[in-house]
């Protein structure tokens, strides 16, 4: 049973689910301060390319490069975040979508560095590096009753799971702190928040940069999970996909992002048996869901109901 569960295929899908949860959170955080950012695909690309190039050319350890990739994405998030403060709603969405495209076109055209549309091959895989490390300190996978292959993916899943749990913990804690309350007050009414003495510029840029950082981190981990990246991985298509994760699951609550990313990554895999028609099913489900529950599957109202509290609809 255990050997069956540790099938590399399941573990690989689990890896993508965890990465997609991070990406969904990277939209959720700016959204919790009222900013709809579609730049996640671009920030993800920055993180992925930075980390991949650093490992390929300078052979730096992965934990350094992944962090550098995420930080660079965060810094660029600040740079992009400041001028886009003036924009709200759809205007911000379009501007950030444009930013993502600029990044993609940069990857395509900066051929001396990124090899253009052919993409980067031979990126060290995180799981394999962990296997090497484990062997160097004398842990043999066979001693744990695992095949090398299983160890590679299991360690990868564990690392990703820890990172995701940490991000979740951080975001949930933050929501109940001064910063989180500032975010939600800005989301409710920017002018009212400002008149209450909240530094809007600071908090909006902070939320934007946090989203960029998480997206960059997810991108770097993506590069080291899949081992090959090309600009088409970070296209406009990806940006929309990430947005759907959050909207599908429910954008009001953090668990909605987790839920949406999990279900929507799993769905195409589970629907493999209908082969050619699976994306039709996927599309139909999205249409039905948006018609029936435009706020996403999970919302605050549902949570109150689950807790057994009765509240009037519309007060949340």
């Amino acid at each position: 049973m255990l050997g069956e569960l540790l099938n590399p295929y399941y573990l690989q899908v689990l890896c993508f689910i965890l990465i997609n949860i991070m990406l969904a959170l990277s939209i959720y955080v700016p959204l919790s301060s009222g900013q709809l950012s579609l730049g996640s695909a671009g920030f993800m690309g920055i993180g992925a390319y930075t980390s991949a190039l650093l490992t390929i050319h300078y052979e730096l350890p992965l934990y350094v490069t992944i962090l550098v990739g995420a930080l660079l994405a965060g810094v660029i998030g600040i740079i992009v975040g400041i001028p886009s403060l003036r924009l709200t709603g759809v205007y911000l969405a379009i501007a950030t979508l444009g930013f993502g495209e600029v990044i993609r076109v940069l990857f395509v055209n900066w051929e001396s560095l990124t090899k253009g549309s052919v993409g980067l091959t031979g990126i060290p895989q995180l799981g394999r590096e962990l296997l090497k490390f484990a062997k160097s300190i004398g842990i043999e996978p066979s001693a744990l009753g695992l095949k090398n292959n299983q160890f590679v993916y299991l360690s990868l899943v564990i690392v990703l799971l820890i990172i995701v749990l940490f991000i979740l913990w951080f975001v949930i804690r933050q929501q109940n702190s001064r910063i989180g309350r500032a975010y939600s007050s800005i989301q409710m009414d920017e002018k009212a928040a400002e008149s209450m003495g909240i530094n809007i510029t600071y908090y909006k840029v902070l939320a934007f940069a946090q989203g960029a950082f998480i997206a960059g981190l997810a991108g770097a981990l993506f590069a080291h999970t899949i081992g090959y990246i090309s600009p088409s991985d970070f296209s406009y298509h990806r940006a929309v996909e990430i947005l759907i994760f959050t909207v599908f699951g429910g954008s009001e609550v953090i668990i909605g992002s987790v839920f949406g990313a999990t279900i929507l990554t799993l769905l195409p895999e589970v629907l493999r048996f209908v082969s050619d028609y699976r994306y039709i099913f996927y599309g139909i489900m999205l249409v039905i869901l948006m018609a029936v529950r435009p706020q996403g599957i999970l919302d605050l109202y549902l949570f109150y109901r689950l807790k057994g509290k009765r509240i009037k609809r519309g007060t949340s």
């Binding site: 569960l5 099938n7 590399p8 295929y9 399941y10 690989q12 899908v13 689990l14 993508f16 689910i17 076109v105 395509v108 055209n109 253009g116 549309s117 052919v118 993409g119 091959t121 031979g122 292959n149 979740l168 949930i172 109940n176 899949i226 081992g227 090959y228 990246i229 090309s230 600009p231 088409s232 991985d233 668990i255 987790v258 839920f259 999990t262 799993l266 195409p268 895999e269 589970v270 493999r272 048996f273 082969s275 050619d276 699976r278 994306y279 949570f303 689950l306 807790k307």
Partner: protein
């Protein structure tokens, strides 16, 4: 706060459960190739080599036409091979939707299944680059039938391809074109945001330099562009003897059409992607004078190709393209290696047998692998003359 955390944990646990049940159910449903195996087994019991081949193909999304042609070519070959009765191949087909992520998932699914002997696909080079290293590490043979980018067979010992790379097709076309026209100056136009057309451009540039041709200008365009007049004006002003165009047929046809309207009358030389009857349909008379190097020439009078065209049309009601032909040959190459390996269960024996493939007679011509697993075969050069593809004559 406490309650929230508890709830969160409960929900997380539920997801994990959903995940497990979902994975459990999906593993039982494999997509068999639609062929009944039992009838053949009964006739020649014991003699037949059984093998399961995994296929990763681009079956849904923008480029699904490629994947469809490939799987149809494979299924046709599968039917014929199984009818002959020496080997019995079962195809397990998985969709990649043209995304590297999905292709890796599909690949992992196939590799984790110990009964799968080898893999054919994925369709795009960008998918292949993600899947092939994994297959190589797992010791499972993988062969691309439509992946033409540089560096693919070099990924590892278990990685092969039977599609002619641009590095073979373009130089052949260029040499013949230069020989006939005596061209000295060439202009290049290519799409720089596509792995395929960019790889083609690099080959063109290298070959032009090697042949001592003067490159008058290099112009680029973006995927989905519809107006090429700016680039073509520049090309026209430099007055080249030949235009080298690394483009896919849908964009290429528009380029050649606009070029003719602007008065550029010199021949165009293109890569494999330019080789489609669609070019004539889109560009009409303007397509005359296009020269391409290709592994597959559909209107050839070669009896093998004529027969293949007939069988394919009977089965699917349309003419095969080069992707179908390459996939068709690929499965025959696999079947041939299977016969020599003598077993359908040993992945390593199969790989060794495949690597020894030499002068295999497929519909595309004599086929061999070189030491890294790349294609060795002759390239046909064709040109469009009077609205038809004909073989290039010097």
């Amino acid at each position: 706060m406490q309650k929230y955390q508890k709830l969160f944990l409960i929900i997380l646990a539920t997801f994990m459960l959903i995940l497990l049940t979902a994975c459990g159910s999906s593993s039982t449903s494999t997509n068999s190739g639609g062929q009944s195996e039992t009838s053949i087994e009964d006739e020649t019991s014991g003699e037949v080599i059984q093998a399961k081949i995994g296929v990763i193909s681009y079956l849904s999304g923008a480029g699904a036409a490629y994947g469809e042609a490939i799987t149809q070519g494979l299924k046709l070959a599968q039917k014929e091979i199984n009818e002959k009765g020496e080997v019995n191949i079962e195809l397990v087909i998985e969709d990649s939707a043209g995304e590297a992520e999905q292709a890796v998932n599909a690949g992992q699914k196939l590799m984790a299944d110990d009964s799968i002997l080898a893999i054919i696909g994925p369709t795009l080079s960008t998918e292949f680059f993600a899947v092939a290293p994994e297959a190589d590490l797992n010791g499972i043979t993988i062969m691309g039938t439509s992946t033409t980018a540089d560096g693919i067979p070099e990924i590892g010992d278990y990685v092969f391809r039977n599609s002619i790379p641009e590095a073979l097709a373009i130089p052949a076309a260029m040499e013949k074109a230069v020989k006939r026209t005596g061209a000295k100056k060439v202009a290049i136009i290519y799409g720089n945001d596509d792995a395929f057309t960019k790889a083609g451009f690099e080959v063109m540039k290298r070959t032009a330099e090697e042949m001592g041709l003067e490159i008058t200008t290099i112009e680029t365009y973006q995927k989905g562009q519809s107006d090429y007049k700016a680039q073509l004006t520049k090309i026209k002003n430099t007055n080249p003897d030949l235009v080298l165009a690394s483009a896919l047929y849908n964009e290429g046809a528009v380029i050649i059409d606009q070029a003719r309207k602007m008065g550029i009358t010199v021949p165009f030389v293109g890569g494999n992607g330019f080789n489609s009857p669609q070019v004539i349909e889109i560009a009409g008379d303007a397509a005359n004078g296009l020269i391409v190097g290709t592994p597959y020439f559909g209107d050839s009078t070669d009896p093998k190709i004529v027969e293949f065209n007939k069988k394919y049309e009977e089965e699917y009601g349309k003419k095969p393209d080069q992707f179908a032909a390459q996939a068709y040959d690929a499965l025959y190459i696999y079947a041939d290696a299977l016969k020599r390996a003598g077993t359908g269960e040993d992945r390593d024996a199969f790989r060794d047998a495949l690597a020894e493939t030499k002068d295999f007679e497929g519909i595309l011509g004599l086929f061999s692998f070189n030491e890294v697993g790349d294609v060795v075969m002759d390239v046909t050069v064709v040109e469009i003359k009077d609205g038809k593809f004909v073989e290039f004559e010097e």
